[in-house]
Structure formats: C-alpha cells, structure tokens
Symmetry: C2
Subunit: 248 residues, 2 copies
Amino acid sequence: MDHPVYRPLHTPHCHVVCSDCNLREICLPVGLTKGELELVDRRLVADRVKVARGASLFQAGERFSAVYAVWTGFFKTCIASRDGREQVTGFQMGGELIGLDGIGHRVHEFDAVALEDSQVCRIPYEELEALATEINSLQQQFHRVMSREIVRNHGVMLLLGSMHAEERLAAFLLNLTHRIHARGFSASDILLRMSREEIGSFLGLKLETVSRTFSKFQADGLLSVRHRQIHITDPVGLQKLLDGETTP
Amino acid sequence: MDHPVYRPLHTPHCHVVCSDCNLREICLPVGLTKGELELVDRRLVADRVKVARGASLFQAGERFSAVYAVWTGFFKTCIASRDGREQVTGFQMGGELIGLDGIGHRVHEFDAVALEDSQVCRIPYEELEALATEINSLQQQFHRVMSREIVRNHGVMLLLGSMHAEERLAAFLLNLTHRIHARGFSASDILLRMSREEIGSFLGLKLETVSRTFSKFQADGLLSVRHRQIHITDPVGLQKLLDGETTP
DNA sequence: CGTAGATTTGAACGTCCTCAAGTCGAGTGG
DNA sequence: CCACTCGACTTGAGGACGTTCAAATCTACG
C-alpha cells in the first residue's frame, strides 16, 4: 500500500526547450507563436525532473511551487482519506499537466506517483502566472487546461455515480485509446501501466471485479488480454456498451 | 426528468457593485484592494441575472461567454450521458462560481439549474481574462477558485469511489454545514434545496437509499429530519462515521 | 380541497464485494 | 538451466449492500 519515498532527481543543466518538443501541440504551449515559444523556452520551463518508477513527484501536504508537464512516462494521482482508504483520481501521460491541485492553498492535496520511469518539465508557478499576464494565448491555454481538467473530473463522476462495472471499464479503455491515439500511437493496442488494483481504485471497483470484467470482455470478443497487454478488437462494441445499446 | 426550458431574465440596468456585496470575502474578488475593487465594479460584472426555480442558467451545448457568481439562491450542475442517465456533479451557493466548464471549448458541457429563485452576477469571460492580466490578485484568485474546484472534484471521486451509503450522506451533510456556516448561518440547521433524487444522483445512490439513510441517522440520534428540514444533533458522530470510527 | 409530486417504507433481487484457492511470470540464487 | 519465491493476476463460492418494484403517506400548490 505505502510506496517508499524516493525523491525525484533534478537535472538542472539539461537544455529544455518547448520549441523542439514533440508534445508542443498537445501540451501547455498550444497555439503560441514562434516568438512566444522562445519566451517560454527562456523563462518558463526551469528544468526536467526524472522520477523513477514507484517514486512520487510530490505528496499531499508538501509545499506547492510548480506544476509539471509530463514529458515521458506515466503517472497516477491519488488522494487518501483519513482512515487509510486511497482513491486514484487520474492517470497522466505525455503532455498532460500535474499539480494544479496545489494552486488553491499553495500546498499539494494529492500524491503524484510515477508508474514507470518518467521525466517531467518543471514549470515554476510564479513564472507561469507572470508570463501569463504577458502572453495572452498562454494565459488562455492555461485556463483551457484547468477547465478541461474540471470537465474531465465531472466525466469521472458520471462514471462513478451511475455506471455498472462493465461500462466503467469500457469507458476507461476507450478514454485511454483516444489519448494514446492523439499521441500518434495505435488505438487498438494498449500496454497498461497500472495494476488491476489501481484501475479498480480509479473506477470504484475491486481488483477482482476488474479482472473478471476483462475476462468477460475477452469472452465476448471485444478484446484480448494478456497480463497488461490489451488488444481492442471491437471498439464499436465497447462504445455500444457505453451508450447502453445492450441487445440481450 | 426533463425540466422545461425557462430562459433567465436579464436585468441590465441594475447597479451591480462588488464593493458593497456581502459576499465579497467569499467570492471572486477576495483580497482585492479598494482601488482594484472599483475597477472590478466598473469593468467586470456586467449585470445580475434572475433565474427562476427550475430554470436553467445555461445548458450543455450552449455557447460559452461568461462565468457566473451566485449572489442569492442555489444551483445544481449536472451532466447527462447519451443514454439519458443524469449525474448531478455539484451544488452551488452564494459566492461560488458557475460556468468554468465552458472555458475549455467555449461551449458549456453541463447544465446549470436553479433549485430556488436565484440571482447570479454575470462575469463576461473576455473581460475577466483581460482584467486578470492587469490585476494580479484577481488573476491569482481566479486560479485559486479553479484549483479548488479541481480539488473538490477529487474529493467527490473519493466519496463516489470508496465510500458506503452512510459515509456518503454524512460527507455530503458535513460539507453543506461547513459551507453554510462559512456564510454566517447556523451549522446545525439545514434547509435542503434539492430533492432526495438529486441528492442521490450526486452521491451515486438511489433516492430510496438516501431516504432510508436519513431515517437511520435519525434513529441513531445523529440528526432529525422533517421533509427537507434537517437538524444536526451530533455533528461529531457524523464526522466519526466519515473517519471510519464505527464502534460496533 | 383535490391532485400531482415527493417521500417513506417494505420485500425480493442482483451486482459487486469478501474470502479463499489456484495460476502465471519475473527475478534470484544454486 | 532449473527450482524457488514473491507479487500480480485469475477464478470460484457465498454474502452484503444497495437496487428494484410496489404500496402507502405526506405535502404543496393551484
């Protein structure tokens, strides 16, 4: 349950530039002009941070000073209640921002844990606020990112509040394929970075239920599972499951 | 299930000023200087809008142009899945912002419905972005508000993903009392503005379960229920229930 | 004062959870 | 190369919690 606390390794002297990043059309600097990008290169991204698998980028209670853009790798964010229960609240991949939770009280409210060896771009928050007042489209993009995070959250609430196990897993898998596809990878092959228990925590299910549902999907010909390697054979069928078009 | 579509009534000529508002220490302009408040008065809040009970302030799919601060009254936001299921994603009271969902794609993603006759302050988003670049503390406060919305969402995910019916209702009631208390009202008396079905939708439960759980809480001496009037007699007991300190 | 909607309560049912056993695969050391 | 072990995963059986269906109250509002 408890991960050992590895600290992230800072690599302050590597040359970090958004202009050259293959994620710049997905990440924070979407829509910036070349000149604006140069400003961002010079003033915004402080450095890249390596986070080993199992290590936490930050933990609940730590002082907030920066947000992070995932460059390589895969993260989960989770929140714990007093009595020790843990809820995974999201999974983050390349180009997605982590740490927005800390802005409100200047203290992180979640844990962010790397699910594989990862690298993130550290974006000091003071700098971001300052630069956002100068570059209009940066401000707008930042607001869009936060807004979409809110919309995403509400989608998860819909999932947790009103869907059955099969629908939840279908929604989860389709969401993953969409995000992977947007990054130029095959939408039909997924290598899961997280355990059944973590999927279950995110979906409000027990790991056994997740496992059983995977098996059922495979029996129904929707996909094939081998450990963490998923091959989606019938994405339309998964989508129909979500839309309630169950024809029994 | 479907509410009739009443349109909000605009009252463009009423004199709206944050400086005089009793919610200014809770709402968006927290921490602004007197001079900054005057700027906000002059340029930010366009007008107040009356929304009758059952009417929607906006609906999913509508073009986004402004966020709204609740001045008087009570709202719910909800999201619908394709197959007609509806999930209430939040309840908003005085000083809270509605409409942040629209920033991402310039289109509203939720419905916002008044649960009683209400009035909101319309804050045109273009103006807000512009003024935020001029007034630093306004920008910071706006970011804080969005961040806290994200944190709140994750709290709801924890609730929906890992709590039992009794814990969900206890969390819901305690959250309400805290917010009501912060506005200067009694923390022990709540007049619910929403139906059992709406509470259930928010908590991922059926209305019958909500009703039964209220009855059980009353039998256990935690509170007394009469219709929508709740009197909390044992807030500590409710909190213990949440913290998992069940002593059977 | 009557009707429609909201709420309460009961009983049977179903989904998912709990507990338990067994399988599989990666990493380790002989 | 092969046991060995540990953790992750799968699968089964029984039970718990919340749902579904149904009926009875109660309230608000016209």
